[in-house]
Subunit: 203 residues, 2 copies
């Protein structure tokens, strides 16, 4: 069993997939705290509905990173809730060194491409524009770089003729909802080991 804090900016579909995996598949994870940089984000609504402490953290004066006072507040909330690991689930702010130092090798992210291909924003659109024929998603430990950390799980999906970016995004999301619980199960069961930038996994 591992206690996780979750940070998200949007509807919280990955957060919901984690809750479902806890409920339906016995994923040995307890979500102890959810934060969002948007006061009206769906992820906060879903958390409160599930009885999980949910907080808005205003990133101001920053718009693109969790830093300064907002970072300190988020760290305190996660620590006071007893989080051992931080799960970014559609969190749109860059993570800075303060959070990484508070949870060393214990901040996870999911990215909608097969990294190192298509880091950054709207990776599904990047993939379609590039003309890739395969894309997917990546669960990885967060490091100081942009989508560069050690990879835990990747799932591939085809890019089909005529796909819009939205079509591809939907297909990738389905795999995200499988990949994140898989990575969290291995983490909770102590079955992930870091070997340089390579993550040894059971499968």
């Amino acid at each position: 069993m591992i206690r996780i804090g979750v940070a998200g900016s949007g509807s919280g579909s990955n957060f919901q997939a984690i809750l479902d995996a806890i409920e339906e598949d016995g994923l040995p994870v307890e979500v102890v705290c959810v934060i969002s940089d948007h006061a009206d984000a769906g992820i906060l609504v879903k958390a409160r509905r599930a009885g999980i402490p949910a907080h808005h953290v205003n990133p101001a004066p920053y718009r693109t990173k969790l830093d300064g006072e907002a970072e300190r507040l988020a760290i305190r909330m996660f620590q006071e809730a007893g989080a051992e690991c931080i799960v970014l689930a559609g969190f749109m702010l860059m993570i800075k060194s303060g959070l990484l130092r508070a949870f060393p090798n214990r901040v996870l992210n999911i990215h909608p491409s097969l990294l190192p291909a298509f880091p950054g924003l709207e990776a599904w659109k990047q993939a379609v524009d590039y003309g890739a024929k395969v894309s997917g998603c990546t669960v990885h430990f967060v490091d100081e770089g942009m989508d560069t950390g050690p990879i835990i799980v990747q799932k591939a999906v085809p890019v089909l003729p005529g796909d819009t970016p939205g079509d591809l995004h939907a297909r990738i999301l389905e795999q995200e909802h499988i990949a994140y619980p898989e990575a969290l199960r291995w983490l909770a069961e102590g079955r992930l080991t870091l070997d340089g930038r390579r993550v040894q996994t059971p499968g």
Copy 2:
């Protein structure tokens, strides 16, 4: 039916896969000429055994690119053999603009990764060192860049726990031998269209 010239530096396993697909699956391709920068390359042996004109082209004074006199010689050999399209099959020299101008949008390459991830040499080793969990192969049109041209086919393979670079390379090669005939069939049947850097394909 399309007539192709093939260039390779090694054993010619992709070339053999193309010959097998012609023989066994009715791939509508005729190989009219094979060249290699290595006089004793396996690909030349395989070509001669199959009764296909096979030539050594010495790249000197260059070591890493097909340019100058060697490029002119290769173009002349391909043209005199009636090649409509050039297929790079493990060819280790960089292709320059002369060949690309002689066969516009008609030079194909296969690369052992899911581009744009891991361009360049020993892509399978790059993938293992990076800790990727999915890799694969890419058939693409060649442009002036290094492994940057429009993508025709990609096939994904898992990177498994304990994989050596050689293990992954072998798994990728199996998919290369499927991907290249697939791309050539679409090309021969006139079912590939270029839309910017995106290739419209039937599947």
